[in-house]
């Protein structure tokens, strides 16, 4: 049962045989779910486009249920398990712990996700991803999620096991790399998420079998510890990948290991509290509880994201300035490798996640402002900015890097790949903006017919709301085209891309050396700042944040008195 380690001639990364195969299979499974979920997105956007309203109501709600689960849970978690293995095994040059058990986890994830989807498409489980009780899906809907979650938990356990093996076998010196540290953060949050899920999905499954009843409010409260925390796993993971891409594409070093790691640590402590965002309009939860939780305990998790938002581009700026791009505030950015799809994906993701996802997240998460946002289409506008622009686009970007390195294939269409992040990312920016626009006018999410045909007391939305929803359709279709291009390049390269040299395989690992000590970076930059351009961008962000925040309060103050 001897394993081998191959050193990739293109990147210098060292891949252990079992780990390599596991990472590949998990990524491909994830990408297949992304492809399927993207197909379903066509049905969603063309139905919500009021002038088209393509699918029947019954089909629409079924497709929307599957779209949510396939994208938010299955695609992202498969990719996350893959990248956890990457962080532990590849970056620490360690054999993966218990590969057979890891394959068992993979099998459970595949079986669970397929079982869940088959059940949804039988038609009796159109309960949306949230499946609020007492509305019930068929038992296999829940069973599929449970099996998938057990599989993902096994993935986390294998990741932790690999860290232990690496330390015991001394495959690296000193502390683990920042990227592995970020992966560890994501894995810890993932365990919390999946255990919360078990706490509520298992009772819901028993309820669907008629064995018990679950209180609707308890269900909502605990479900969101699954539903929102799983999105926090995404945040931790895509920030980790930002650092990774900055390192491999630009050779960027973290500005300060201390700041970046403390920011990750704040995620572990506070990010899950954001689950309360979804419960601000609910009865029965006290004001003190809502304030403590929705502020992520006084916004310390927001602080963490604002830190990563500075340190990632800041590290890029320092690296670029060291290469000599020192003119003015922004030469480093102008001369950045914009035609490298890994870099452009990450940068578009970073800006979109901060400006569109981050700011709106704080709006929705403010107890009172939530009143003008709850359950409107503003909510999907927000999370498409965080999960699609933030996470999915980042995962796409790192996949471009992994195709030659991990899959050992040449990209089949490099020019198309160069444009894909712009097509996908920018149309997603547009989609999110118009969704939020429609949401500001009150348009509901998860709603088949905004014209309320057949209702005696139909409400007539303002014309602007109809226009926005039509633009949601346009932006959605453009984004789907961007997604199709990605799937074509990714799967096409795997199937018929030119094979690349594997590099020599050895029976033992070569230990990872430490990074060379950083030189005094203060010699670069200006006005005493190592990264003045990034600081200027951060100021623009702050101004946008402050202005938009107070505009919302101003609007809220004109509403009915509520107490």
């Amino acid at each position: 049962m001897a394993t081998t380690y191959r050193t990739c001639p293109r990147s210098g990364l060292q891949f252990e045989r079992d780990a390599e195969r596991l990472i590949k299979f998990n990524i491909v499974a994830g990408v297949l779910w992304l492809a399927f979920g993207g197909l379903l997105a066509i049905g969603v956007v063309l139905t919500r486009w009021p002038a088209i309203r393509w699918l029947e109501a019954h089909t629409f709600y079924m497709v929307l249920t599957a779209h949510g689960l396939d994208m938010l849970i299955f695609w992202l978690m498969f990719f996350e398990v893959a990248f956890l293995y990457f962080c532990a095994s590849v970056l620490l040059r360690c054999r993966i712990a218990t590969p057979k058990i890891a394959w068992l986890g993979f099998a459970l994830m595949v079986i669970g996700s397929v079982l869940n989807n088959v059940t949804v498409f039988r038609g009796g489980s159109s309960v949306m991803m949230t499946s609020y009780v007492p509305m019930m899906a068929e038992p296999n809907f829940y069973l599929g999620i449970i099996l998938f979650a057990v599989g993902a938990l096994i993935g986390c356990a294998v990741f932790f096991g690999t860290l232990v093996v690496a330390q015991r076998e001394k495959t690296y010196e000193g502390s683990m790399p920042l990227v592995t540290f970020g992966g560890l953060t994501a894995a810890i949050i993932m365990v919390f998420t999946l255990l919360s899920g078990a706490f509520i999905i298992i009772p819901a499954w028993l309820m669907s079998l008629g064995l018990m009843t679950v209180d609707p409010l308890i269900y909502r409260t605990v479900w969101w510890a699954l539903g929102h925390s799983s999105q926090q796993v995404n945040v931790a993971m895509h920030v980790t990948i930002w650092y990774f891409v900055a390192a491999v594409v630009l050779g960027a070093k973290p500005m300060s290991e201390r700041v970046s790691r403390v920011a990750f640590f704040l995620y572990i402590l506070f990010l899950q509290l954001a689950a309360a965002h979804h419960l601000l309009g609910d009865p029965g939860l006290s004001t003190a509880w809502k304030i403590t939780n929705t502020s992520y305990f006084m916004y310390l998790a927001v602080l963490a994201s604002m830190l990563h938002g500075l340190t990632v581009p800041g590290a890029m700026e320092v690296a670029q300035r060291q290469k000599g791009f020192t003119k003015g505030l922004f030469e480093w950015l102008r001369k950045a490798p914009w035609s490298n799809p890994s870099f452009s994906s990450v940068f578009i993701s970073l800006i979109g996640f901060g400006f569109l996802g981050g700011i709106t997240g704080v709006m929705m998460g403010t107890e009172q402002l939530n009143l003008i946002i709850h359950n409107t289409i503003y909510v999907p506008g927000h999370f498409h900015a965080t999960v699609v622009i933030g996470t999915t686009l980042t995962f796409m970007g790192v996949t471009y890097y992994l195709i030659p390195v991990l899959f050992r294939r040449e990209l089949i269409a490099p020019t198309l790949a160069r444009w894909q992040p712009y097509i996908f990312g920018l149309s997603m920016y547009f989609l999110c903006l118009v969704m939020m626009g429609a949401g500001t006018l009150g348009v509901s999410r998860r709603h088949w017919d905004m014209a309320f045909q057949g209702a005696a007391m139909a409400y007539e939305w303002p014309g602007a709301a109809y226009l926005m929803m039509a633009l949601v359709g346009v932006g959605g279709i453009a984004a789907i085209i961007g997604g199709v291009i990605f799937i074509y390049i990714m799967l096409g390269s795997l199937l018929w891309g030119r094979k690349l040299e594997a590099g020599t395989a050895r029976p033992t690992f070569t230990p990872v050396g430490r990074a060379s000590p950083s030189m005094a970076a203060q010699t670069y930059g200006s006005i005493g700042f190592t990264a003045p351009g990034t600081f200027a961008l951060a100021m623009v962000f702050l101004v946008a944040f402050v202005v938009y925040y107070f505009i919302n309060w101003k609007y809220l103050s004109t509403l009915w008195g509520l107490s």
């Binding site: 920042l178 390192a247 800041g314 107890e367 009172q368 709850h374 007391m457 009915w560 107490s563």
Partner: protein, 179 residues
């Protein structure tokens, strides 16, 4: 490439903080405190805070109270289903129930008067989305949520269900009048 390599110093928490980071941490922290103060302060000085007064309730109990209000204060009925339009006195307890797939009854309130609005659902989760004011509250079955409301503008409002509640969800829409 040091983000993917073990840091040069084992004790990463002793790594120096750059000036640009230090400045940003200070600014971001101040902003976070303002965010927190705004949300808490609005509970003291703001006029739009969602009440958390809640009671456990059953459909039968709630229906009895709603029916009593309807019997006493109905002024007319609307639509083919003859949904009662109820004009309860200012300051009173008013009841609104959500069920598959309608709201009942239709309320007629007075501008600048305060009411204790009781909300519940008879079956699944529903949404209370008051348009065009755009006030959105979750309605959860088994719980009676008492929200104190003071309408500040007269007109005909619409009440849209914005929590997915099954196949008739998109037809679940009602009215609310403010005189």
């Amino acid at each position: 490439m040091s983000a993917i390599l073990p840091p040069a110093d084992r004790l990463w928490y002793k790594h120096p903080i750059d000036r640009v980071e230090g400045t940003w941490i200070a600014i971001a922290l101040i902003w976070c405190i303002i965010l927190f103060a705004m949300m808490t302060g609005w509970h003291v000085w703001g006029k739009q805070n969602l009440s958390t007064e809640t009671y456990r309730s059953t459909p039968a109990q709630f229906m009895a109270k709603a029916q009593a209000m309807v019997d006493k204060y109905t002024v007319r009925t609307e639509t083919e289903e003859k949904i009662p339009v109820v004009a309860p006195p200012a300051g009173s307890d008013v009841y609104l129930l959500a069920r598959l797939w309608s709201f009942w009854p239709i309320l007629e309130l007075e501008k600048d008067k305060t009411y204790r609005l009781h909300l519940t659902s008879m079956d699944y989760n529903h949404g209370f989305s008051l348009q065009p004011a755009n006030i959105n509250i979750q309605i959860v079955p088994g719980f009676e949520h008492v929200v104190t409301v003071t309408p500040n503008e007269s007109g005909t409002y619409s009440l849209v269900c914005n929590e997915y509640c099954g196949l008739g969800h998109h037809r679940m829409v009602s009215r609310l009048y403010v005189k």
